[in-house]
Symmetry: C2
Amino acid sequence: MKDTDKVLLAHGGGGGLSYQLIKDLILPAFEQHPILKELDDAARVSVKNGRLAFSTDSFVVKPMFFPGGDIGKLALCGTINDLAMVGAKPMYISVAFIIEEGLSLKTLGKVIESMEKVARLTGVQVVTGDTKVVEKGSLDQLFINTAGIGSIDDDLDISSSNAKVGDNIIMSGTIGDHGIAVLSQREGFEFQGNLLSDCAPLNHLVSRMTEKTKNIHVLRDPTRGGVASALNEIALQSGVEILLKEAKIPIKEEVRAACEMLGLDPLHIPSEGRLVAFVSEEDAGSVIETMREDPLGKDASIVGQVVSQGNSRVLLETIIGAKRILTLPKGELLPRIC
Amino acid sequence: MKDTDKVLLAHGGGGGLSYQLIKDLILPAFEQHPILKELDDAARVSVKNGRLAFSTDSFVVKPMFFPGGDIGKLALCGTINDLAMVGAKPMYISVAFIIEEGLSLKTLGKVIESMEKVARLTGVQVVTGDTKVVEKGSLDQLFINTAGIGSIDDDLDISSSNAKVGDNIIMSGTIGDHGIAVLSQREGFEFQGNLLSDCAPLNHLVSRMTEKTKNIHVLRDPTRGGVASALNEIALQSGVEILLKEAKIPIKEEVRAACEMLGLDPLHIPSEGRLVAFVSEEDAGSVIETMREDPLGKDASIVGQVVSQGNSRVLLETIIGAKRILTLPKGELLPRIC
């Protein structure tokens, strides 16, 4: 492969070049992933336990490379995190590329390398995949879909519909880093500091938490629509009223400044390596303690509480002590941020 | 929803409109799919058996609607068939839409309806999904990714690397109908007759076959790259030499005529509802008999045999009795045919 080699339509055609792309670029990168090498129409995998989590996400982030990550890292972390958000241990991942004709093979190789790195770090196996190539102009460079399977321990019941009155709401870290990092890169803004996306796999953090207590009721990563969407969806699905305290929410100065300048609400900005957890009050302290032992949970803190049943809404107590309803974000937020 | 309503960027933004799209369009269509309604980051599903198949495919077919099917039907059948090709019973499916801003909601609704129809017919549950919307010009209308999970009975061992000397090769029906039907629609060719895509779910046909005998060694659906790619990949993965008899391959007159006119080799043209099966010689007769009882297997016939070990190649015995090597197709075949 030369540095200038590009993806051709024939790389997705199912013939000789498709086979070569798989043999020369994809399989060598994933050589620690033996099931992938079997190249059957479907991967054959085994699970020890009958309770599984299954999730999928497509990634269309623009630009493909941003401070703190790229579309490959994001695509692995995104699905791994979705699995972790129901308490599952991620096991198997599928990777499907849709590529615009003309993309450099070197760029594709870099993205694959990022994916492999996350897989190694998280102990997840890439077992099956697909590559489609479309004509120039029919897609902007590269989109990736991942789907994943994880196993759920029998004694866990973590769901967005499981929030209970009295639950403490824990935020694992600062909000909005990912959204502002991508936006800055895309629009060429230069904010002070060196803001990186928070994009990271949360499965190890979640394992620590579920080992500490089974009284975790809800986990959610505030991606598209940010904390505002995540909490509103939980309020709707659980039928509860949530009180969120603005002053308690960890937020980086660069993110706050960028949001002020751009007229954005930090509560709408996506993170890709953070979670909110709803934990029974008596367990919240020990859960925070264990979270803080993990680099991805070092800023963990209680940001709110479930206050009552029946009234599905989120109340925001602002820094000056006023209360307002925090609604689902309206209109277009940040296109192609993940 | 009005007939003229279009998909907006905000439908993919994770805010209020995203929620509305899911509540108003997607969930009502899939009302028989209760797990989908839970709207967690990952679906929680259960399997009775520890051996699973896992597969993914993206669909970029152009045009979206073609004689005999559409991108929605294709997206469900494609993944269901990939699961069936390792002998799995398809159980759970994920659906991820990537939509170009401006697509009509009515069109999206039609595609979803097709998907639901296939799900109902096959007994597969749609349990999780994702919707991304990208700016006009960043994608051609609508691409869909599906991933799926199926369970594999313990006594089956069906894999492309499992072909054995003496195996009979059975083709379930005519080849190339899908490719020529899509191509004709796209390019505005009018061939005589009324050629429809063969796009169909093969899981029930495969169940019949695996109930009849456990001596099915390989199953493969000849999609991209057609029969030529499918057989070459099996030859490579199993390390065997395959003899294919051209005169025995079922092919519709319209497909043959179109291929002649366009200078295409019918063995390169994809089908989306056909399979090749490698079955031990003593069971081939009874497998064909049971296949013929199914509408999707009514034209089943023996088209070749595995002749020796060690020489990974496919020999084609032509209609006039000459033999030539049938290679993996070279160059671009048919872009965006699936």
